[in-house]
Symmetry: C2
Subunit: 364 residues, 2 copies
Amino acid sequence: MQLTTLSINNDSVVNCPRMIYNLSMTNGSNLRFHKPARATLKDVANLAGVSEISVSRVMRDAPNISASLREKVMTAANALSYTPNRLAGALKSQTSNQVAVVLPSMSNIVFSSVLDGIESVLSKHGLHAVLGVSEYDSQRELEVVRELLAWSPMGIILTGLHQDPAVAGMIGQLDIPVVQIMDIDGSPIGSAVGISQNEAASAAADYLYAKGYRNIGYVGAWREKPDRSRARRLTFEKRLAALGSPLIGSYISDDRSSASVGSSATAKLIEMHPELDCIFYANDDLALGGLFYAMRSGIDVPTELGVMGFNGIDIGKATPLLLSGVETPRYEMGQEAARLLLSSKFEGPQVKDLSFKIIDGETT
Amino acid sequence: MQLTTLSINNDSVVNCPRMIYNLSMTNGSNLRFHKPARATLKDVANLAGVSEISVSRVMRDAPNISASLREKVMTAANALSYTPNRLAGALKSQTSNQVAVVLPSMSNIVFSSVLDGIESVLSKHGLHAVLGVSEYDSQRELEVVRELLAWSPMGIILTGLHQDPAVAGMIGQLDIPVVQIMDIDGSPIGSAVGISQNEAASAAADYLYAKGYRNIGYVGAWREKPDRSRARRLTFEKRLAALGSPLIGSYISDDRSSASVGSSATAKLIEMHPELDCIFYANDDLALGGLFYAMRSGIDVPTELGVMGFNGIDIGKATPLLLSGVETPRYEMGQEAARLLLSSKFEGPQVKDLSFKIIDGETT
DNA sequence: AATCATCTTGGTAACGTTGTCATGCAATTG
DNA sequence: CAATTGCATGACAACGTTACCAAGATGATT
């Protein structure tokens, strides 16, 4: 008699341990073939003939354990394939090895790089990232933080410096280290690591001005959802004005960033301002879209149109023309955030400026 | 007389050894002003004048709660800005709202898309992803799984079908739902969602053959770290051979995938096999690199060289030539994995084939 | 009027660990 | 040699919540 009907997978007849339990459960209502229930400290202690606390100590590599005891415990633990229950441990000891990470979005390559960096450091120290995505919504962020803090993480990493004030309060109650990433132009709750978005914007303006562009435009996307991108644009505008070459115009798409959006936005902006000779884009995806649009349309880059991106993603380094832009250390930002979290117990809150770089490419 | 309670954790009038303790501490020398410690059920219950269990029920939205009780509890909870301790809750109830997610890498856009999809569904149900990265190493994957399972997640999502056998065993002990993503050509532990990598490879071979290419090469990277990419190549080769147009040659880089690697690999492969008229790439990053290389070198695409990618990332849709390739539903894969996890309690393990699509672009 | 089901609340005992003592024993010391 | 130290182990009571059972209150049913 066949139990499963829905599987497309014919060979699922083999190798399906759970089915066996299902069979035996139908046997009798209270007669339960104990599925190999997760072993506990007590089980290991009983088998090894020692006390529970000793097992606990061996598992935690506590000091002052005799070789013989360790031996006994380890064999028993292996025999039962014991895995400690972190829930209980964390509850009692009030410390866990989880780190809450709140990012505004996972679809942006920037944040996956950051997360990659975070994970690379955390995993080396036996820690885990618990992920929360705020969707650029401050209310949602608050909820996410509350939910993540309910797990008593040993620290928390937030994106940006502008959270709802309640966030700081909630973190304060737990008294765990906080690191805010991306931006350092402001006053952080605890530590902060990132670049000065303002300086980057000014530097970009200076760079384009020095390159001789005088009719500069700007393209953004997704209604400038991260506040810091708007702040960056405003600084860019201000600096251009100060240089005596004010921004000609800008176009902010409603859609989220992508190369396609970059193409269409570029088309629209050029149509609105035919005198444009250069565009600064909110990120590299948009800039690539702009570059590709120019290539398709026979607009010569960089003479007819300068293209400048932001972030310095890998693809921009392989395009026929090396993409100019601001290079931001995204992976390193993640790494440094994790490191700061780990060290902040001893060193207290810090602000770390990972500087950006101007890529003087072939598109400007 | 006022006790000046700095700690809200003081017990009520009844039976409170702790209060005495606190009292004796107040006249001790080391009187410490703690910051407001995290409120517990007991604190809320005392303030509201109800039992702890009632508070618990209100917080969990249990049925059969009178409006007046809910009212009392909620005001008390807000006053203390109470947040339930999930650690304790999960320990007692043996269920948590965390989902373990094990991915081979975070630097690959494929997996960040998948994770995005997973998160989008999980967050709608109040669940959280706890992340583990295996770095394509099966031993490391085993460790990561063990570590994540120690938190008693309510489910686990794994990448690929080829884990160390011990993984299935460990999951079996907890008896939680498993979903394996990406590949469906094999026998999953529980549910699986993805595409048939073999069919995709065959379809790509058919497509290129139909387009008239007869001297086809292959470019991969990172020593084909995900097993499935190797399997895919082998199927691709086999199919080409069956069509009577065997693979001319292939180049597998040691470095991880990137457009730059795609460019240099393309150069090398063409040098080795000047008769090549088409290259199938292991992913779109590599393919874009190939396309850009051709554009830089004046090689006409698609007549002199056909370029076919794998995945269908957004940038390939904005390039001057629409990138041909196999489009895989990465985001949907993540979503579906999460959905399967949620439903598998009721519906049991399933295998879901999210079909791929051939993008008949301008580069072939 | 007695019985029974239903709704609402509370009391108690876990869940599986670890912190804090306490204890026994060997090694050191003046 | 008594006194002191250090090491190795154990007993017990938490950590903050929820499962389980009990019980009073209310209303419906016979």
